[in-house]
Symmetry: C2
Subunit: 593 residues, 2 copies
């Protein structure tokens, strides 16, 4: 239907006749002289319809051009010529096409919103195809496409085997709720959509595939936050006969390679490495954003005997933490602003937020403005200022709570202060976080829960050792973190059936339950399972980071809303009862508990 | 953990120390001299543990080697040396590795079946990982992996955009039953799994993506036949601003390219093209296997006035067909064999199967053995023999029924005779089938049904014309056929909302229903939809053809049985009622209609 792309018409074509197809991006009629910006996948070129005695059928062309409306689909034949007034903003700005024929292929009705206006997200999602047509959305989506291409090319070249695993599978409790699919041929039974291909990829290692990958769709029926979707995409990888450094070094090189290829960015030649304990201590987070230079300072030793009870109580608590955070230049914050930070900390679990403004460091106590200063003696005040490195004009914020809670809310405060105070450095800050705890104790359920998942190997090889030291056991899990986002997470897996049974037991999964749910994995581990490990990378998140957008919805062609709906198709929707009968379910009456 | 792959140890490594990981494929203990065939993803190498006074710790090595069992996971360090007795059957057959250290990484329990034995399919599916370890299954799976890689590489190089479409979507009636997923956040509502990304890919063209592809998972809740799965994979493609030859020529070149790359096979430089009508007439099938030279011969004109009522009735019927098939050398068939062919034809709809053995063509009627000969005069007999080209020693089979039915069962008979008589030529016979009818009339429902799907464009551009000639209307659909398999199917789509509404109406889909189900498509067609078309290729089937297997289960890592079960994981399975309550459904009591 066409000889060239609109966006690729260039000076080499001057004098030639071309046929182009595209959308009328803009059409202007200047008294018989018509200009149309014709747009396709590659860009825009200017079409001119002008009176010219030499051109046959020219009146038709002008008539057609003068009726062109916004987003009409056109086919235009014409001759390329050099443009009088060059347009530097577009790639084809040196040339224009003088139309000899204009065909209207499909008339567009008036649009619900204009591409150049700032429409609300709901209407953009309802008419997703109009939104996706904008250059900005095209750029974001194509960044994702390039990312996935670059990953695949890298993996294929290294003999990773791209293997599809089932979508209709068995419920596998990985911490989130499964989507269920009633089985028509098995009344009362259900398939589940996979939360990840975790068990299948481990089975593939037992099956001898050595190195596996899949760009895999995963499903979690969770409450949706701004950055979550019901279905998401991960680069899922698994390696046989490896230790953690094999997985880490390989995938670190892969991430460096795709950033180079897609973004022209050179990431650190060796990613920093940090244990979970160090990350929590210095940054109050297991996914620290290293672009922000601020660090937490432990001050429990300095306030252990002070009169401020909140400090001294937590400083003396076995599981307590008292931590300070220097905020450079923050002495100028108003009371209102400080209250806002306290509210932010509260949202992340703080019961209160103590603060100190260092108005003049040379003046000691007299230079400090703080509601808690009166509870602290001169030496303590000086020690705190010295420990945090605070200067005149800075503020110091304090958290005192359990170790976990104080770390969490001070970590959150650190991020917010970093952004608000303009302390986020440009660029990319990747790192590995390692040595995660194997288990967390769940007070409510009175049992251990797995910090990664139940298939993660402990650092110890001996099941009795693990059982004896479960509380402090460290796992062989690792996360890749980029600019404060966990973009990848993985581990060396348990490859020994006895160790796997022990971990199930510690997690409160009885032998019978384990056999019912994971019997096939326990079997597989008994019949020649090689040591293996892997990782999964969040494609949506990495694509969003690369595209420079906060929302993963911008890099998903047809995303769902936070209320789990597709505004374009109207999914989910009611279905006729006849269809439900075929799959042996009925809708539960609302009254029923 | 290793320095080399077992299967890649070669003469260049002689004298060097290597560390290998793998499974013990075979272990033989010959009185203190132990041989282990160590196998990994790349192949097998022979390990030797032998007494040698010079080697430190050598007794340990022999002790370890003598305890190795079938499929144990081992790590072996040793020195590569030239082998005394070369083994030509394996790539590493020139060398062996003299072990200096053998570590048992994971002991394998006795296996439920041995890789070299011919176990039943059920047990192979239950222990799928053991089955996948066999060289034959590895070869089949890797053929599929190579196919998908080659396709992606070809498409990426040509700027096709790889875009993911949702798995949790809206019910779209495409002829098969949808899988339903109850929506937790919307009580009484359901998502459906996509039967194909059809509407999404059309929307992507409206959204300006120009050329799209996706290796897409699709779902159909149909009765399973041997070659069907609940979920299957297709290469889904769509092109904007194209006619059918653009799609066909591009994808034909793609298929040629991947066959060259994966199989080293050069397909025809231009695929033959055949209309649906011609395919039905000559081969009784819309996916003719052109490797079989047999063709159907219409004989209605010859038997219109004969005394054999079945023939003359159908020959005079407006929608009847009387057709003959020459079976070379089939005069030797026994009565029992002929009965078997009649049963085969009956399975495909035949009410009976008339036949004629041409025992001696020179003898006219006397040389013909046939129960129906007595109803046919000499001239008719001679005309039939002549029309079919039958020779002495051949048989002729006859079908008489509606055009569709006679074509179907005679087409099926043609395939079976072709195979049984050894008339299937070697090699690959691709072709395009085009000009499908737009609609089929459904007697039961008293309405038209779409032969492709409701979004396929008719050959005519005018809605009134289509309405007036619906019965004989031809669509812009096309199939790619290979060796009797429909490996790809597609069409130019309707891009005009009025034409789309007309087609819905002809299909008995009322305006309100159309708006409810396809309103977003009708909208999209109104807001600047370019002419577009596409195609989808069945990856499972193409992979099976390339791998030389009849069953697509051999090229799917974790397939389901014909009873829709995964024997390895045990899916589907019952779920606790609490989980059903969360998604607002309950199991329907069996008694309830």
């Amino acid at each position: 239907m066409r000889t060239h792309f609109c966006g690729l018409v260039d000076e080499a074509l001057i004098g030639q006749t071309v046929t182009l197809c595209g959308w009328a991006d803009v059409a202007r009629n200047l008294g018989g002289l018509c200009f149309i910006d014709l747009r396709d996948h590659e860009g825009i070129v200017q079409i001119v319809a002008e009176p010219d005695a030499d051109m046959a059928g020219n009146a038709d062309v002008i008539a057609a051009a003068s009726q062109v409306g916004y987003e009409d689909c056109l086919r235009v034949t014409g001759v390329v010529r050099r443009r009088q007034s060059v347009n530097d903003k577009i790639r084809t700005g040196q040339v224009e096409v003088v139309a000899t024929k204009i065909e209207l292929l499909n008339k567009a009705e008036p649009l619900p919103f204009h591409a150049h206006e700032n429409a609300g997200e709901d209407i953009r999602l309802k008419y997703r195809y109009l939104d996706l047509r904008t250059p900005e959305m095209q750029r974001k989506m194509r960044t994702r496409i390039k990312l996935v291409q670059a990953l695949r090319r890298w993996l294929d070249a290294r003999d990773f085997q791209d293997i599809e695993t089932p979508i209709l599978t068995k419920a596998t409790p990985e911490g989130a709720r499964d989507f269920l699919v009633p089985a028509r041929m098995h009344p009362g039974e259900f398939y589940a959509l996979p939360q990840s291909p975790q068990l299948f990829k481990q089975i593939l290692m037992v099956a001898g595939f050595d190195r596996y990958y899949q760009i895999a769709r995963c499903f979690r029926d969770e409450a949706l936050r701004a950055d979550r979707q019901l279905e998401f995409t991960q680069l899922d990888m698994e390696f046989a006969w490896v230790g953690e450094r094999d997985v880490q070094d390989t995938t670190e090189e892969m991430i460096r390679s795709v950033f180079r290829e897609v973004m022209g960015v050179e990431l650190a030649s060796e990613f920093p490495r940090m244990t979970y304990a160090e990350a929590m201590r210095r940054y109050g987070s297991d996914k620290p954003d290293l672009r922000i230079a601020l660090e937490l300072t432990d001050v429990a030793e300095l306030v252990r005997n002070c009169e401020f009870k909140v400090f001294s109580d937590w400083a003396n608590h076995a599981d307590g933490r008292v931590v300070a955070l220097r905020a450079p230049g923050a002495a100028a914050l108003s009371r209102k602003q400080i209250d806002d930070y306290a509210a932010h900390a509260a949202k992340h679990g703080a019961k209160g937020l103590a603060w100190m403004k260092i108005e003049d460091a040379a003046k000691g106590r007299d230079g400090i403005n703080s509601p808690i200063a009166k509870f602290l003696d001169d030496a303590t005040l000086a020690a705190i200022v010295s420990a945090t490195g605070a200067q005149s004009g800075d503020a110091i914020f304090f958290g005192a709570a359990t170790y976990k809670s104080a770390s969490d809310f001070m970590g959150a405060l650190r991020l917010k202060l970093g952004k608000d105070l303009g302390l986020v450095a440009d660029g990319w800050a990747p790192l590995w976080v390692t040595d995660f705890p194997m288990f967390e104790w769940d007070d409510e359920e009175q049992r251990y829960v797995a910090l990664h998942h139940p298939f993660t190997a402990p650092a110890v090889d001996d099941a009795a050792d693990l059982r004896a030291n479960a509380k402090t056991a460290v796992s062989r899990g690792y996360d890749m973190v980029l600019n404060g986002n966990e973009i990848g997470g993985g581990s060396i897996r348990i490859h020994n059936s006895q160790m796997q049974s022990t971990v199930f037991e510690l997690l409160g999964i009885g032998a019978e339950e384990a056999e019912g749910k994971f019997g096939f994995l326990l079997d597989a581990l008994r019949f020649g399972a090689p040591p293996h490990g892997g990782i999964a990378f969040g494609i949506d998140r990495i694509a969003a980071l690369m595209a420079g957008t906060e929302s993963i919805r911008d890099v998903i062609a047809f995303p769902k809303t936070t209320t789990a709906q597709c505004l374009m198709t109207g999914a989910p929707s009611p279905v006729p009862d006849k269809q439900l009968a075929e799959v042996h379910v009925s809708i539960r009456p609302k009254a029923q508990p």
